[in-house]
């Protein structure tokens, strides 16, 4: 369900300029820290406390170089990003702000957090990962579009990660991964969301669902998984249209196909700006669909600007996978605190969905590391993280059970794009801001390539010290 995937393959077209980058469509610029509303009283919390998590960072007397990347005075956590290629600074911002905030509160039992940013330039994931293997204690708040290319490298060097986002299927539920959002490798994504769309909100659309996706070997298994899931919850795929990842000169043939096949619900799997272009044509044709799954990559201000007049005509939805909506920050203490901390340490930088995910990952790492005290090792921090059975990131998200990473999506929440911005859709929440208890669908074997195991690289858990 929580597949907030950067559309990896679609970014790669810009290789031509050899290292010259562009948007990967993952920028989900939401609330701007600079323009946040007056901080609510709830946000006035003591140092080192985030939301409902107390003592995440605090002074202490931990000492000793207990593991690679750990010294008496500091802990080096790697942050791999594609920033050099995508030019999206979100993950680096999150790392800087989190570590500044944490260090100001005294660090992890007195040890300061030092982020070590590694840039993959999109394609050089293996090199960046090898560098991280040689230096970092763990990876935290990281996300690489082609993460599947380096997962074996990471597992071989027994480097635990607390990723902000997992992209390729090979990396989902990989060993030594503590991902604070459920993303079960064996389960269909978006079951709750699709059920709501085709069974409850728009039952007429159930037999008329189409998917339009950017063609690439990487997107192929993800697209198949979505098609299977939608079918499993009672929908029928009536149209499947691939487009070249390098772009489309004219979206009209696709719009014409959508219209002539009577498609009422559309899943779009590509870059946000491509969706905006397709919707413009659909809107100009006067083809009003029941729903369009814009996916959470579109969640943010850029899509609102790009889609323009289509927003009033079409219904765009996105499954946030249980992350509290950023535009409602004022009614959630933890989200509000995140916006406020960002305004303090990185004024003017947007708090986006990726920032939110990275923040939850950093919190998970810090909280786990803090519980280890002086004896900070990879084993200790990883074990502590996967003991969390109801992780909420202090209130940033719906609870997630890290002890069972390969589990079906538990809770979800749906956002809707309106001309005024994103807002929660009427998706009938049953647990605060979220809806939990979605139907479970087990994916047939072989759709997702399996992640490597510790055994496949000649290691076992007992090697992790």
């Amino acid at each position: 369900m929580r597949r907030h995937r950067t559309i990896a393959a679609l970014v790669a077209v810009a290789l031509l300029a050899a290292g010259c980058g562009r948007s990967g469509g993952s920028s989900a610029g939401g609330a701007s820290a600079g323009s946040s509303q007056a901080p609510a009283a709830a946000a006035q919390t003591s140092k080192g406390t985030f939301g409902s998590l107390t003592g995440v960072c605090k002074p202490g007397h931990a000492t000793g170089a207990t593991d690679q990347g750990v010294a008496s005075s500091q802990i080096t956590a790697g942050v791999l990003t594609d920033e050099g290629f995508t030019k999206i600074p979100d993950l680096v911002n999150a790392a800087r702000v989190f570590t500044s905030w944490c260090n100001a509160a005294g660090g992890i039992d007195g040890r300061k957090l030092a982020p070590n940013v590694g840039d993959t330039q999109l394609l050089q994931v293996a090199a960046a990962m090898t560098a991280a293997c040689a230096k970092d204690f763990v990876l935290a708040g990281n996300s690489e579009a082609l993460d599947g290319l380096a997962v074996k490298t990471r597992v071989s060097c027994l480097l635990p990660e607390f990723p902000a986002q997992v992209v390729m299927p090979q990396d989902i539920n990989a060993p030594l991964q503590a991902y604070p959002l459920t993303d079960g490798h064996s389960y269909g994504p978006y079951t709750g969301y699709y059920t709501w769309l085709v069974k409850q909100q728009y039952p007429d659309s159930a037999r008329h669902v189409g998917i339009v996706y950017g063609q690439s070997p990487i997107t192929a298994p993800l697209v198949t998984a979505q098609e299977k899931t939608l079918t499993a919850v009672g929908g029928t795929m009536a149209y499947s249209g691939a487009f070249p990842a390098t772009g489309v000169t004219d979206w009209t043939p696709y719009a014409e196909a959508i219209k002539s096949k009577g498609i009422k619900g559309l899943i779009f799997y590509g870059e946000t700006q491509q969706l905006a272009a397709l919707e413009l044509v659909l809107t100009n044709m006067g083809d009003k669909l029941d729903w369009i799954d814009a996916n959470s990559n579109a969640y943010g201000q850029p899509f609102i600007q790009l889609a323009g007049k289509s927003l009033a005509f079409q219904h765009n939805y996105a499954d946030e996978g249980g992350l509290y909506p950023l535009e409602k920050a004022s009614s959630n203490a933890a989200t509000q605190q995140l916006v406020k901390v960002f305004a303090q340490y990185a004024p003017g930088q947007p708090v986006t969905l990726q920032v939110l995910q990275a923040w939850s990952a950093w919190l998970l790492f810090a909280k786990s590391a803090e519980s280890c005290g002086s004896a900070l090792t990879r084993r200790c921090v990883y074990d502590a993280a996967v003991k969390q059975t109801a992780w909420t990131g202090g209130g940033l998200q719906a609870p997630v059970n890290l002890a069972q990473p390969d589990s079906p999506p538990a809770c979800f929440n749906v956002e809707q794009a309106t001309p005024g911005g994103w807002e929660p859709a009427p998706f009938r929440p049953n647990d605060g801001a979220y809806r939990c208890g979605a139907p479970v669908y087990r994916l047939p074997a072989g759709i997702y390539p399996p992640p490597p195991t510790l055994a496949s690289v000649g290691k076992s858990m007992s090697d992790l010290k």
């Binding site: 790669a12 077209v13 810009a14 290789l15 031509l16 300029a17 050899a18 290292g19 010259c20 980058g21 562009r22 948007s23 050099g84 030019k87 330039q121 394609l123 050089q124 293996a126 090199a127 960046a128 990962m129 090898t130 560098a131 040689a134 082609l146 599947g148 290319l149 074996k152 490298t153 299927p169 063609q215 690439s216 070997p217 990487i218 192929a220 499947s240 691939a242 070249p244 390098t246 772009g247 489309v248 000169t249 004219d250 979206w251 009209t252 043939p253 696709y254 014409e256 196909a257 700006q273 491509q274 905006a276 272009a277 413009l280 100009n284 006067g286 850029p302 790009l306 997702y448 390539p449």
Partner: protein, 661 residues
């Protein structure tokens, strides 16, 4: 029926865009002999400028249009003609092609530098507030109608210009015979200028027309025009009416395939590859006139000395060993590419340097090599490396057979089409069965590769793989140098110099071409397999057509006939781009422009960068030995042996000059 009509109308509106862009391509190509890969990029730049004027600075649309189309585009066209193109005008087809590739890469870099790619930008469509025209199942927006009208207007205007004006007559004269047109008082230079101005204006019109329906994205807008290439090839890069017809065929085909192709796992990619396939078919089906500008300047292919090559090969291995010893494993994953991508680059030396065949699909073939290695050499079996070379050589031979009909720019387009078909279709296929064999390419997105077991030792570490790749590069460099000295190499050069003469003297064109394509593909495949081992895990994007263009660029910049070009390209392509950014992150935007600047500088140094580097090295060597020869002023050839002593090399030089005619 209504449906059918609707798709037809949709196809027409797409066709109108291809027609405008394609006619610009044809106009520039016929008049100047330059097939402009940067044509789409010029349109992209125009669209961004138009956005800046109307949305950024709030100018009224008519003023902005006038400024872009009547001031900025002509100025840009003139600038390109004067600064970039004129120096390479007299050079070969390959150099001109490379300069436009460099421009493409440079323009994208510049646009992304000026306009931050993460800021969303949209342009309103023309007549956005007017209600669309509806008739039965057909809906046509006024923007689309405008596009169709503009295309028709462009067709009429071009016809009038070419048939009814003096400038047009001059341009047609230059198209037919440039020197003759010059003799009869026409000004070929002026015709070139007009062609560049008009070509850029047409690109700008195309860019401004498509940008509102897409969003402003430098890369996408620049690369969209493969279908327009197909239209241009329908016009045999010469005829404007046929180009318009080709645009209608391509636009209609894309539209109908979107509507009527059944859904299954094999076909979607086929539809996306359709324009490229059509391009391939059009290239093969239409007779091509004699290529313009062929054999203008055939430069001699240098003969590497046995000793020099041996020293160079030893130095290559030494460089590999030094890198392996000095760099961290993480850096080795990056810089090991110097040797593996160097092999891919080296594959151009026999193919393009000796035999004169321009291929734009060498990196794609390297991708095939990587896949074959990943699947057959899963445990590092040494024989799988042989299989890699064999399979890739077979693919190269298959490419060579249809390519027999093509040469020069047509061959470049044909191989580009092949690379596109691989990108869009073959590499994206799910696993399938062919002749009872389960074939799975990048099924699941990526494949993993391990180092080979050679002589009982598993080359697993980054250092070992770097040295291994360096050794392979050295060995293949030796082989390519031996090829140049041998009979086959001389045959290839004869093939390059004149295919007709080669055939007349009893050479077998088919055999020679198939052999050289297979050889080059085998080398590229080996490079791809080694690259995959270094990266441990690879995906199709790393071998995409667009990723291969910069390598081709650097290869030509290095000097494609030199055996040292493999190492040079590897080092130049992998080295500065990564090292500079690592040292000075602020230089990233500038570094992205490096290949482009190097390519554009090619006009000043048509033999590539290696000869000056060799002179420099040679000079240093002589200085060390303390007997530098004084470099007097060059003596004109007719005074050799009179004003200066006859040199033993002089006869060779004269013979070559006579042979090249």
């Amino acid at each position: 029926m209504g449906q059918f009509l609707a798709y037809g109308i949709v196809g027409l509106s797409t066709a109108a865009i291809y027609a405008v862009i394609g006619s610009g391509l044809v106009l520039t190509y016929t008049t100047t002999g330059v097939f402009n890969f940067a044509h789409g990029a010029a349109g992209m730049l125009a669209a961004f400028t138009y956005w800046q004027l109307t949305i950024g600075w709030g100018w009224p649309v008519p003023v902005a249009l006038a400024v872009v189309l009547l001031v900025a585009a002509p100025a840009f066209g003139l600038g390109v003609e004067r600064v970039v193109m004129r120096p390479v005008q007299a050079l070969g087809e390959m150099e001109r092609l490379v300069v436009t590739v460099a421009m493409l890469s440079g323009l994208i870099g510049v646009a992304e530098w000026i306009w931050n790619p993460n800021v969303p930008r949209t342009l309103p469509t023309f007549f956005a507030s007017a209600a669309p025209i509806r008739s039965g199942p057909v809906t046509l927006t006024w923007h689309q109608a405008t596009t169709i009208f503009v295309a028709a207007g462009v067709a009429v205007a071009l016809w009038i210009l070419l048939q009814r004006t003096r400038t047009g007559a001059e341009m047609r004269a230059v198209v037919d015979d440039r020197p003759l047109a010059g003799l009869t008082g026409a000004d070929p230079l002026r015709a070139s200028r007009v062609a560049w101005i008009l070509g850029t204006q047409l690109a700008a019109i195309g860019g401004i027309l498509i940008a509102p329906e897409l969003t402003l994205d430098a890369t996408q807008l620049s690369l969209l025009i493969v279908s327009a290439y197909t239209a241009a090839v329908f016009g045999r890069l010469r005829s404007l009416p046929l180009t318009f017809a080709g645009a209608v065929v391509v636009g209609g085909m894309e539209s109908y395939l979107t509507g009527y192709l059944p859904d299954n796992s094999i076909l979607p990619g086929l539809r996306l590859a359709a324009p490229a396939l059509l391009l391939f078919i059009a290239l093969l089906a239409f007779p091509h006139r004699r290529l313009r500008g062929r054999s203008l300047r055939l430069r001699p292919v240098p003969v590497p000395t046995a000793a020099g090559t041996a020293v160079f090969a030893a130095a290559t291995v030494a460089a590999g060993v030094v890198l392996a010893a000095a760099l961290s494993p993480a850096d080795l994953v990056t810089y090991g590419g110097i040797f593996s991508l160097g092999l891919v680059a080296l594959s151009y030396v026999p193919l393009t340097g000796y035999a004169g065949q321009i291929s734009l699909c060498q990196l794609s073939i390297a991708g095939i090599g990587a896949v074959v290695w990943a699947h057959l050499g899963g445990n590092g079996q040494w024989w799988a490396l042989l299989a890699v070379v064999a399979v890739c050589a077979a693919v190269g031979a298959v490419v060579a057979v249809p390519a027999l009909r093509l040469s020069g720019i047509y061959l470049a387009l044909g191989t580009a089409a092949f690379a596109f078909v691989l990108d869009q279709w073959i590499f994206t296929l799910p696993s399938f069965r062919v002749l009872g064999v389960q074939v799975s390419l990048f099924n699941g997105g990526s494949v993993t590769a391990v180092g080979p077991r050679l002589f009982g030792v598993q080359a697993g570490s980054e250092a070992a793989l770097t040295v291994l790749a360096a050794v392979f590069l050295a060995l293949v460099t030796l082989a390519v140098a031996a090829l140049r000295r041998g009979r086959f190499g001389r045959r290839l050069i004869a093939l390059r110099d004149s295919e007709a003469a080669y055939a007349m003297l009893g050479g077998n064109l088919l055999l020679a071409r198939v052999a050289v394509f297979a050889l080059a593909a085998g080398i590229a495949g080996l490079g791809g397999a080694l690259y995959a081992m270094q990266q441990q895990s690879v995906t199709a994007e790393q071998f995409a057509f667009t990723a291969g263009l910069p390598i081709f660029l650097v290869v030509v910049v290095g000097g494609v006939a030199r055996v040292g070009d493999g190492l040079f390209t590897g080092a130049a392509y992998v080295g500065p781009l990564n090292a500079l950014v690592a040292v000075a992150p602020w230089s990233q935007n500038l570094v992205a422009l490096l290949p482009a600047l190097a390519g554009i500088a090619l006009g000043r140094n048509p033999d590539g960068l290696i000869p000056p580097m060799r002179r420099l090295a040679g000079g240093a060597g002589q200085a060390l030995r303390g007997r530098s020869r004084p470099a007097g002023p060059a003596v004109p050839v007719e005074w050799w042996g009179v004003r200066r002593a006859w040199d033993e090399d002089d006869k060779k030089v004269l013979d070559r000059g006579v042979a090249a005619g």
